[in-house]
């Protein structure tokens, strides 16, 4: 019961963990490489959601000073995630470039088929 209460209270954290696991599962089980990269993106954004929700405080304003608001949410997680987002985009771009090249060499983007082709070549 205590656990259920804790989860209900931290529903944002719980949702981000669920999404994280969905992305993780997609990455582990699907053999299609593009699907793997999609899973990787979902996993990363889930972690980002988790970090951003750490910084949120109920009833406080966005961290832009100068208006009427006196109390602000924690700005540090947002600043970190801004970095994380860009990192994610560069990783995705590089992975996709490699996938295009894999397709040109092997004629497939399926990890299992590639493994088969390589074992036949040997």
């Amino acid at each position: 019961m205590r656990i259920v209460n804790g989860i209900a209270q931290n529903y944002f954290y719980f949702a981000s963990m669920v999404i994280f696991l969905i992305g993780f599962h997609t990455m582990l089980t699907h053999s299609n490489l593009i699907k793997k990269i999609l899973g990787m993106n979902i996993m990363e954004t889930a972690v980002f959601l988790f970090v951003v929700s750490i910084g949120y405080v109920r009833g406080r304003a966005a961290p832009v000073v100068g208006g009427e608001a006196q109390q602000f949410v924690n700005p540090l997680p947002s600043a970190l995630i801004l970095t994380g987002l860009v990192v994610g985009v560069s990783l995705t771009a590089f992975a996709l470039a490699l996938i295009i090249k894999v397709y040109q060499y092997y004629g497939t983007v399926d990890a299992d088929e590639i493994m088969q082709i390589r074992s036949e070549e040997r």
């Binding site: 949702a15 999609l38 966005a62 994610g88 771009a93």
Partner: protein
């Protein structure tokens, strides 16, 4: 539970449903489009969490550029997952 929390829970369930859909769609192009929707909802969630900077960046980077890159890749490779 007040209105705003209900709204948050709705958004979060949307996110989970979108993530599941991305995992289960066999058509990669549809999966990428659902992923774009996922990114946009994520941007709205971040707006709701009072983090407008990253909401903006996610809307431009995640929903815009990542989706475009995925689409280009799919157009160069195969569209369906076996």
């Amino acid at each position: 539970m007040d209105m705003i929390e209900l709204f948050h829970v709705m958004l979060l369930s949307f996110l989970i449903v979108c993530a599941l859909a991305v995992a289960h769609l066999r058509d990669l192009l549809s999966a990428v489009i659902v992923f774009a929707a996922y990114s946009l909802i994520m941007a709205i969630v971040w707006q709701q969490l009072n983090a407008p900077d990253i909401a903006m960046t996610e809307a431009a980077m995640g929903a815009g550029i990542t989706t475009l890159l995925f689409m280009v890749t799919i157009s160069k490779t195969r569209r369906r997952e076996q």
